[in-house]
Each structure stands twice: as C-alpha cells, then as structure tokens.
C-alpha cells in the first residue's frame, strides 16, 4: 500500500454568512494525495480555493465534508501538527523578536532543552537566514520574511510543507535560491504543496501541477504532460483584419494551439486567408496559458 504524506479525500468547504447561512463554495469534493518527496503546485485564479485547501490541509480550517490525513494521521490530531508545516501568504511574526529569537520561540513549542538550539541552527541554515539572524522580524525585507516563514514551517522535522505564495513577489535571484532550497527539502523526503500565483516558479520546481477553478481541480498532471501541448506562433507583415479559425491575434501576428494538426497545415490555413507570413515557430504552451485557458473556460 502506498504511504502518502498528505491525503485529502472528497473535501468540501463553504464559507457561510453567520445569520443567513448562505455562502459560497470554496472547495467542492476535492481529493488529492502527495507522496513523500514530491513537489506539487497549486495554480488557479484568485478565489479558486488554493488558500482554503492549504488551510484545511494544515488543520487550521475544518472542512464541511471529507477527510484529511498527514502521514496516515487525521490532520486535526495533535500529533499531525508536528508533521505538517504551514507558511501563510502574508506571514506575520512577533515584531520585537529577531529572526533567531522567533525561531527559538517556535522551536520551544517542539522540543525542550539543548535540542532547540540545533533545531534553530538547522532552520537558519536551511532557509539561508544566517546574514539576517540578528535582525528583528519587523525590519526584514519581503524575501527574508518568506524565508523565515519557510524556516518556521520546517522546524521540528515536518514531513509535509504547505506553502502559500512563498515564491510569489520575489526577485529572480531570491526565487531561484528558494527553489533550490525547496528542492533540497524534497530530496530528503519532505512533501511540498505549493500554491502560486506566479506560475513561472512552478515550471522550474513542481513535478506535478494541479489547476484549481471554482473549488475543483480542473486539470492535473505531471508538468511534462501539462506542457506537452504545442502552440504555433506566426509573425505577419501586417495585422490581419480577421484571424483564421482557431487562431488569435497577438502583438506580432497570430498564434494557435496545434491540437491534432501539423504546423504545415496551420500555416497553409494562414496562406489560404492571404496572410503574408514572415516567420513562424512552434513552442510549448506555458503553464500561465493553461491557467488562463481554464479561467476563460470557467467564465
């Protein structure tokens, strides 16, 4: 039997107004399972249910229906809290504490005595916080706040990390550094579920991507499978008055998904419409385009 690090089974949740009882569905019968060492990405438009899913997986929110287990333990059990780490989208830390003190405070909730110092040291090294270890949380830059959120989430030998937008809003260098560190964590068997608005980070990191829309997983698969779809880009001398069927107008000309047809056939269609093709190229569809397709289809 496969030992999953995180399992969500038919999880539904609705946010209801206190008096009327009316509400909107944040998640509808969602199921997923994460293997140890796997990095999975959650993408989707705002309001798709990414944060709600992570909060349920972290045990912070009780779902209306469904079950969640962390390493086989129900997530609401106290023992599960030792196994699952959560970094929220906008992490806030006690402002008077330095990075080292904040981690010491969280570490004290896991272990007592001398082991705490080792835990803090490891977390600082792991998140690359050594240069700012003596800086107060209130004075940290955004990238360092996210590193601190990652560090506290990994404290105490957590087996599952739930990261909400931890890679979003970072400069490319900081993002690459964090991606490398997350890769190291996955290599030692920690399962990572990462929600991201900025999907370019996921293209480098996640082995599997789930696209959420309206509280449901509408597309899921390995990154290679999702990015298998190809797109033909056509550069034209002049913008067309009307694009051929299946094409859409871009800044430089046209583009169309190559779903089941050859580039030659698509280019022949352009010529049949008397369009002056200057150049063309075939590229893979980006994750961002997949998310946008899902968003457009849902509207």
């Amino acid at each position: 039997m496969t030992a999953y690090a995180l399992t969500l089974s038919h999880v539904s949740h609705a946010f209801r107004r206190p008096w009327t009882g009316r509400g909107s569905h944040a998640l509808e019968g969602l199921s997923l399972a994460l293997l140890p060492g796997e990095i999975a990405g959650l993408v989707g438009p705002p309001g798709a249910g990414k944060t709600t899913l992570l909060r349920i997986a972290a045990g912070l929110l009780a779902p209306d229906n469904g079950e969640t287990w962390v390493c086989g333990i129900p997530v609401r059990a106290a023992a599960a809290r030792r196994l699952v780490g959560y970094a929220p989208e906008t992490p806030v830390f006690p402002p008077a504490l330095t990075v080292r003190e904040a981690l010491g405070y969280y570490a004290r909730l896991h272990v007592a005595g001398a082991a705490r110092r080792a835990l803090v040291h490891d977390a600082i090294e792991l998140a690359g916080l050594a240069p700012v270890a003596g800086v107060r949380a209130a004075a940290l830059a955004r990238a360092d706040v996210l590193r601190l959120a990652l560090a506290q989430a990994t404290l105490g030998g957590r087996r599952v990390l739930l990261l909400d937008e931890t890679l979003s809003g970072l400069d490319p260098v900081a993002r690459r550094d964090l991606c490398t560190r997350l890769g190291h964590l996955a290599a030692i068997g920690i399962a990572i579920l990462l929600a991201a608005r900025d999907v370019t980070a996921l293209e480098r990191l996640a082995g599997r991507v789930m696209v959420l829309s309206g509280g449901r997983i509408v597309r899921a698969g390995s990154l290679a499978a999702l990015l298998a779809e190809r797109v033909l880009e056509v550069v034209l001398d002049a913008p067309p008055p009307e694009p051929p069927p299946g094409f859409r107008v871009t800044a430089t000309g046209l583009e169309a998904p190559l779903a089941g047809r050859t580039p030659e056939a698509a280019l022949a269609l352009c010529r049949a419409h008397r369009l002056a093709v200057r150049a063309s190229r075939v590229r893979v569809k980006s994750l961002e385009e997949i998310v946008l397709d899902v968003h457009d289809a849902a509207r």
Partner: protein
Amino acid sequence: MRRRRFGTNRGPFLFYTAPVHFLDCVLAEWALVRPRLLRTRFGAWLGLLGAALVWLGSRGTDPLAIALHAGALGAVIGAAFSAGTDADRAALAITLTHPTTPLAVACGRWLAAVTAASGLTIACLLALGWDTGAALAGIAAAAAVAGCALAAVLAIGNGAAILLFGCMTLAGLAPPEEWVGLTRPGVLRLAAASALELGPALWRYRDIATGDMGALLHAAAWAALGVLLASGVAMRRAK
C-alpha cells in the same frame, strides 16, 4: 524479566508528557516578555506609570491604592504589549500551526502580563515602604485584570486596553454605589452597576490586604475566566 533501558523507543507516559509540554508552551510565551520589555515601549510605559504612582504615593496617596493601581494598570499595559498589537494578534496564526494550544498561548501571555504588573507593584511598594497585604492585593488585582484585559485585547485590539485603562484609573477604587448614584435609574444604570459589581474592580480587591477570601476568589475567578476567554478568542483568530 528484561528491563527496559532508557533511550529505547518506548513512548513516554502521556500523563507526564502532556502537562510538561503544556508548561513548555506556556514558558515559551512567557519568555517573550523580556524582549518586549526591552525593545518596545512596554518598558517605557511601565516605567512612566511606576514613576507617576511613586510620585502620588510620596504626596500622601494610600500605599494600598498605589499597589492596586500598579497591579491593575500594569496588567492592562502588559496585556496590550503581549497580545494587543495588530502584529502580535496576526502572528497567532503561525504560532497555532505549531504543536501548542490556544490555552497554552493565553496562559503564557497572561503570565507575562502578571509578571510585569507584579514587578511594578513590588517596585512601587519598595519605593514607598513595604506592605505585604498591599503587595498581595496588588498582585491579585494584576491577575484578575490581566485575564480580563487579555481577552479584550485579543478580541478587539488595543482600543479595548485604552478603555480598560481609563476605567481602572477613574472608576477602579470607588464602589458601585458611589457611581450609580450619579445617573438616573434605568437600563444604563443597571448595566453600569452590574459591570462594576461583577467585573474586576479595585474597590473589591482592597479587602485582600485584610485577608478577605471572597475578594481573592473573585480575582482568581476573573483570572481563570479571562484566560479561558482569551484562549477561545485566540482559537477563533487562527481560523
């Protein structure tokens, strides 16, 4: 029969680990009082309050009243700086993803507020002339008011601390009969009288100095109720 050696993988006794872990979590919260005292305005406010009270005491104010005010007002300031700032309230969300409980968080922060207020009470009495009864009454007032203030600041923010500070300063020492006589009979008067009668009030805790067990129990009940309410609020805030 084989003896089990220490360090084997047998799980420790539940009845031993659960309370010890709870105490560890309480101490983790309590230990934050030092950086808050030294690095925020917490220490400055306490110092200012202490200086004002000692000055009042040197001008002839009753040392028992000084002790009660030091305890109660110090506890309000302690609760405000332990849990009342927006950042501290928001930070609870991360704290509760770790293996702690809202009750441990509330206990630790209550203890931090009481420690600071008790320190202030003792310092004031040392400066004015030691009185054990007054010190006990001040510490009991600190415990009761810290519970009430902690629940209020966690739920509403530091606006509640300002309100409570004002109430304790102005209406703290006079019994309800003196205050309700100022308004006409009605719902407002009934509500004010009930609040003064039931809430943590310094006029009641005066009697602790003379060994009144009822007043001591009232303070203990408010401390416990406040911590329980605060833990409930903390749990709701983490959701």
